[in-house]
C-alpha cells in the first residue's frame, strides 16, 4: 500500500544525483594554487583586480617563468614553482582578539622584504599579494581560524594543507595548538611549519618534528631573569603561583619556578584555573593571604588576566606592586581597570622588547609597519583602528613577523630552493637578524633568545608604563640543563622546586633608561 518499487527507484535516483552534484562541486578542490586562491578567505575575494590577476595566473605560465628565473621550481610539493603559504591564527577563543596582530605580523615580512602589497589599507585579514623572494613567487593561500583548541587547529591546518595547498604554515598562536601541530608535522614531513607565537616547551623539546621550526622562545625562556630578580632584588623568599591550566601556562610558570627555586626561593602554593575561566574567586581563595607569602606570580592570560586580578582585589585586598609579578600578560593596560597600585610589579619578557628600548633596526621595523597599512585594529588598541606599529611591536604580531622573516631569509640563503628538504635545511641553519635581536636555533629547531625583564612603573604623568630592567642574553630552552627531552614536560607538578645553578642567575645585563649596561 505504501512505497512502490517505482518510488524507491525515484528516491535512489534523487540520492544519486544529489551525491554526484555534491561530489562534483567539492571535488574540484584539489591541491592546485587555483583552488587555494579562491579559498584564501578574505584574501582573494577582496584582492584588487591586478592583485587577483597576479595571484591566479595559470600554473603552467608560472612554471615557465620560475624556470626562466633559475629558481629551483621542480622540487616544491605542488610542482607549480610557486610557494603556497598559509597563516594559522586564532579568530575565536581567548586569543581571538589577536587575529589582526598575527596575520599583520606575518604579512609585514612579505610587504617589507618581498615586494608584496597589502590588499587593504585598514586590515591585515585581507591578505597580501605580489610577494617574490629569490625569483620565486609566494602566494598567501589561506588564513586559518583557530579557537585555541588543538582539535580546531588540526582541522584548520588540514584545510590549509589539503584543500588550499599550503606548503608552508606560519603559526600557530597558542601552546596546545602547537603540540598538536608539531605532531601533525611529524606525520607530514613535506609540510614546513614555522611557529607563530606558541610557547609550549613540549612542542620542540619533546615532540622534535624535523620540519617544525620555532624562532621565538618558549614560555619558560621568556620568563628567564625574573625569578632571579624577585628573589635577589625584591627579596621574595616564598611565592604562590596561579597558572592557566594548559601547556603554555605550565611552561611559562616552569620558567619562573625553575629560576626562583634555583636562586633559593620556595614556591609554597600552585593554583591552576582552566584557561578561559570567567569567575576566578574559587581559585583566588586557594591562594595564601598577603601576610602568609612574600609574593604572587600570575600566569593567567588572554581574557582571564584582568578577571583574575579583580577576583584577588575582591577577596584579598588592593594590589600591591611589590607583592605581585607576572608573565607577559601583565601589562600597563591593567592599571586602567585596577588602579596604579600595580606599579612596581615585575613582568616577564615576550618576543619583543618594550617600547623604551630602541635601536636603528627597531626604528626601521616600526617605520615599515606604519608604512604597510594606514591602520590595524589590533588587540592592544581594543581592536579599534590604530597605528600598525601598536600591534606589531607587541609579541604576538612580532613573533609572526619573525616567522615570515625566517622563511624569506631561508629562501634567500638557498637561492629560492622551495623543495621541502631544501627549505627545511636552510631554515635549520639560519641565523636570523631580527629587529629585536639575533636568533639562532638549537638542535631541536628551537630558538635561543635574549629575554627581557620589565617592571611596571609610574611615569612623570602618574601613568603606569612598562620599563625594561634587565636583559638575559642567549637563553636556551634547556634552562642550563633543568629541562631536557628526558625530563617530564612542564605540568601541574613539574618542575619541582629545587635549588640549582642557572648560568645567568646574577649575570643578567641591567638596563637603565632603555640602555643596556654591559
Amino acid at each position: 500500500m505504501n512505497n512502490t518499487p517505482k518510488t524507491g527507484l525515484r528516491r535512489a535516483l534523487v540520492a544519486l544525483v544529489a551525491l554526484c552534484l555534491i561530489a562534483a562541486a567539492c571535488g574540484s578542490d584539489d591541491d592546485s594554487g587555483e583552488a587555494s586562491g579562491s579559498a584564501s578567505d578574505s584574501a582573494s575575494a577582496s584582492a584588487s583586480a591586478s592583485a587577483s590577476a597576479s595571484a591566479s595566473e595559470p600554473a603552467s605560465a608560472d612554471d615557465g617563468e620560475a624556470s626562466e628565473d633559475g629558481a629551483a621550481a621542480g622540487g616544491d610539493i605542488n610542482g607549480d614553482g610557486i610557494l603556497q603559504v598559509g597563516i594559522m591564527g586564532e579568530c575565536e577563543g581567548p586569543f581571538g582578539g589577536f587575529h589582526e596582530d598575527v596575520v599583520g605580523g606575518a604579512s609585514l615580512a612579505f610587504i617589507e622584504l618581498a615586494g608584496a602589497s597589502s590588499n587593504s589599507s585598514t586590515s591585515a585579514l585581507e591578505g597580501f599579494s605580489g610577494a617574490t623572494v629569490a625569483g620565486v613567487e609566494i602566494e598567501l593561500v589561506g588564513i586559518g581560524c583557530g579557537d585555541d583548541t588543538p582539535d580546531t587547529a588540526i582541522q584548520e591546518i588540514r584545510r590549509l594543507v589539503e584543500q588550499d595547498g599550503s606548503e608552508v604554515i606560519l603559526g600557530p598562536l597558542s601552546g596546545d595548538e602547537s603540540i598538536a601541530m608539531a605532531n601533525f608535522a611529524k606525520d607530514n614531513p613535506d609540510i614546513t611549519i614555522i611557529n607563530g607565537t606558541a610557547g609550549a616547551q613540549e612542542t620542540t623539546l619533546q615532540v622534535q618534528a624535523e620540519n617544525y621550526f620555532r624562532f621565538n622562545g618558549d614560555g619558560a625562556q621568556w620568563n628567564a631573569g625574573i625569578g632571579d630578580i624577585l628573589h635577589n632584588t625584591a627579596g621574595w623568599e616564598t611565592a604562590a603561583v596561579i597558572v592557566d591550566d594548559y601547556s603554555f601556562g605550565w611552561t611559562s610558570a616552569a620558567g619562573f619556578i625553575a629560576e626562583f627555586c634555583a636562586a633559593g626561593g620556595d614556591v609554597v602554593q600552585r593554583v591552576f584555573p582552566p584557561l578561559g575561566t570567567t569567575d576566578y574567586s574559587s581559585f583566588v581563595a586557594q591562594l595564601p593571604d598577603p601576610d602568609e607569602v612574600d609574593g604572587y606570580f600570575w600566569v593567567v592570560g588572554g581574557t582571564g588576566t584582568q578577571a583574575s586580578l579583580e577576583a584577588f582585589v575582591n577577596a584579598k585586598g588592593d594590589l600591591n606592586g611589590a607583592q605581585h609579578a607576572g608573565n607577559l600578560f601583565f601589562n600597563p593596560g591593567l592599571a586602567a581597570a585596577l588602579g596604579p597600585g600595580i606599579a612596581g610589579a615585575y613582568v616577564g619578557g615576550f618576543a619583543s622588547l618594550p617600547g623604551d628600548v630602541t635601536s636603528p633596526a627597531i626604528d626601521a621595523y616600526i617605520a615599515a609597519a606604519d608604512g604597510a597599512w594606514e591602520s590595524l585594529p589590533g588587540a592592544l588598541s581594543g581592536n579599534e583602528p590604530a597605528a600598525p606599529s601598536v600591534a606589531l611591536t607587541f609579541g604576538f604580531g612580532y613573533s609572526y613577523y619573525v616567522a615570515g622573516l625566517a622563511l624569506i631569509e631561508a629562501m634567500e640563503a638557498n637561492g629560492g630552493d622551495i623543495s621541502p628538504a631544501g627549505l627545511q635545511a636552510s631554515l635549520a641553519g639560519l641565523t636570523l637578524d631580527a629587529p629585536y635581536g639575533q636568533i639562532t636555533l638549537d638542535e631541536n629547531r628551537q630558538a635561543i633568545v635574549d629575554a627581557a625583564v620589565q617592571q611596571l612603573v609610574l611615569d612623570d604623568n602618574g601613568e603606569v608604563v612598562s620599563r625594561t630592567v634587565a636583559i638575559v642574553p642567549g637563553v636556551d630552552q634547556t634552562f642550563g640543563g633543568v629541562f631536557s627531552p628526558d625530563t617530564p614536560p612542564p605540568s601541574r607538578e613539574d618542575p619541582g622546586c629545587v635549588e640549582a645553578d642557572l648560568p645567568w642567575v646574577g649575570n643578567a645585563i641591567p638596563v637603565v633608561d632603555g640602555v643596556p649596561q654591559g
Binding site: 527507484l9 561530489a23 571535488g27 579568530c91 588543538p150 582539535d151 584545510r159 598538536a180
Partner: protein
C-alpha cells in the same frame, strides 16, 4: 514478508556512490569532509535514536564519543612526553577495552538518568557532559586540559586516510542498519511505546527504566565507536574536544538533519562540516560579513531557519515536499508513520503491541 526494494535500494545506491567517491572526489573532500561527516553522523544518529525513538533527548552522546577517545589515548599511547596513563597497549586491544569502558559508563549513567523524562533528562545528561569535561580536564592521570597527543591508529590504517574513510563509511552503514533493525525488534517497538506513553507501558508491565538504560548504553557504545574513529582521524583529544560547544554542535547536527529519520544525522553532519569548510570559499561571501569567524552565526541562522520552516529538519523537508508532489489519494497515514520512524508493513506484520 517479501523484500521491499523501495526500502533497501536507496541506501544501497548511496553506499555504492560513497564507496566510489575516492575515484572522483578530491582527497580533502573524501578524507576530511566525508570522513568527519561519517563520524559526527554516527554520534548524531545515536541522539536521533534516543530522541526520535525513545523520547530521550541526550546531551551526553558527545561525552561517550570522548570517553572512548580518551581511553584509546590512555591505553594505546606510550610516547615520552605524552599525557595520560601511557600504557602502550596493542591498538586493537585498546579499542576493545575503550568500548567496554564506554559502554559500562553509559550503562551506569543511563541507569541514573532512566527515571527522568523530557527537560529533566536533557538537563541531567547535559550535567553528565559538563562533569565529563571537567573530569578529563582536572584529573591529570587521564588527561588534563592539555589533552593527549600523538595518538596513532593501528598500523593498517596509519598513513592511509582513504582506508579510514572506508572504515568510517562501513561503520556508518553498520550503525544505520543496526539502529534501523533495532527499531523494529520487540525491544525497539517497546521503546517507541515508552516514548509515546511511558505510564501506560509501565502499567502494562514493561520495565521502563530498564529499556531506557539499555537504549542509552547501546547508543553510548555506538557513539564510542565513532569516538574511536575520531581520535584515530584527529591524532589527539583534549577536554575541550568534548566541552559544551561541541556537545551542542552535535545536537545542532541532529536538528539540522531531522530527529524523525536516522539518515538525517548524516545529512545534518554533512551540512555542518561542509558549511564549516566551504562557506568561506564562496566568492564575495566575506563582503556580507560572513568570514570564518562567523561560522557559528551562520549555523545558528540555519538552525533557526530549519526550526521555523521544517521542524523535522532537512529530512522532514524532503518528506513534506514529497507529500506535496504526490497525487491526492496516497495513503497519508503511511507517510505519517514513516515520519515517526515506523515501518507500517513491519509493525502490521508483527502486531505485537501488548
Amino acid at each position: 514478508m517479501t523484500i521491499d526494494r523501495s526500502r533497501w535500494l536507496p541506501p544501497l545506491v548511496v553506499l555504492v556512490v560513497l564507496a566510489a567517491l575516492p575515484l572522483f572526489g578530491s582527497e580533502f573532500f573524501v578524507t576530511f569532509v566525508m570522513t568527519r561527516t561519517f563520524m559526527l553522523g554516527m554520534a548524531a544518529a545515536t541522539i536521533v535514536f534516543l530522541s526520535g525513538f525513545g523520547g530521550m533527548t541526550s546531551m551526553a552522546q558527545f561525552l561517550m564519543f570522548g570517553i572512548a577517545g580518551f581511553m584509546i589515548g590512555n591505553l594505546s599511547v606510550s610516547e615520552a612526553g605524552s599525557k595520560g596513563l601511557k600504557l602502550g597497549l596493542d591498538p586493537w586491544l585498546s579499542v576493545v577495552l575503550a568500548l567496554v569502558i564506554t559502554t559500562v559508563v553509559a550503562l551506569i549513567l543511563g541507569a541514573v538518568a532512566s527515571r527522568t523524562t523530557g527537560i529533566y533528562y536533557l538537563m541531567l545528561t547535559f550535567i553528565f557532559a559538563v562533569i565529563g569535561f571537567f573530569f578529563f580536564g582536572q584529573v591529570t592521570t587521564f588527561s588534563g586540559f592539555g589533552g593527549i597527543t600523538g595518538i596513532d591508529p593501528p598500523p593498517v590504517l596509519l598513513d592511509h586516510p582513504i582506508r579510514l574513510y572506508f572504515v568510517a563509511l562501513a561503520l556508518s552503514f553498520a550503525t544505520y542498519f543496526t539502529l534501523r533493525a533495532v527499531i523494529r525488534t520487540p525491544f525497539g517497538l517497546a521503546l517507541q511505546g515508552i516514548r509515546d506513553e511511558p505510564v501506560r507501558m509501565a502499567a502494562l508491565g514493561w520495565n521502563v527504566p530498564l529499556h531506557r538504560t539499555l537504549a542509552f548504553a547501546m547508543a553510548g557504545f555506538l557513539a564510542g565507536v565513532a569516538g574511536v574513529l575520531n581520535v584515530w582521524w584527529n591524532g589527539q583529544i583534549d577536554p575541550r574536544s568534548i566541552s559544551i560547544g561541541p556537545t551542542i554542535d552535535l545536537l545542532i547536527i541532529a536538528v539540522i538533519g531531522g530527529m524523525a529519520r536516522l539518515e538525517g544525522a548524516w545529512i545534518g553532519a554533512f551540512v555542518f562540516v561542509a558549511a564549516n569548510n566551504y562557506l568561506r570559499s564562496i566568492p564575495l561571501v566575506d563582503r556580507i560579513g560572513i568570514t570564518e569567524a562567523r561560522f557559528n552565526t551562520v549555523i545558528g541562522a540555519l538552525v533557526l531557519l530549519i526550526v521555523i520552516a521544517s521542524p523535522d529538519g532537512i529530512t522532514g523537508l524532503y518528506d513534506r515536499l514529497r507529500r506535496a508532489w504526490r497525487p491526492i489519494g496516497v495513503d497519508q497515514a503511511a507517510n505519517q508513520l514513516a515520519l515517526e520512524g515506523n515501518d507500517p508493513s513491519i509493525s502490521n506484520d508483527r502486531g505485537e503491541i501488548r
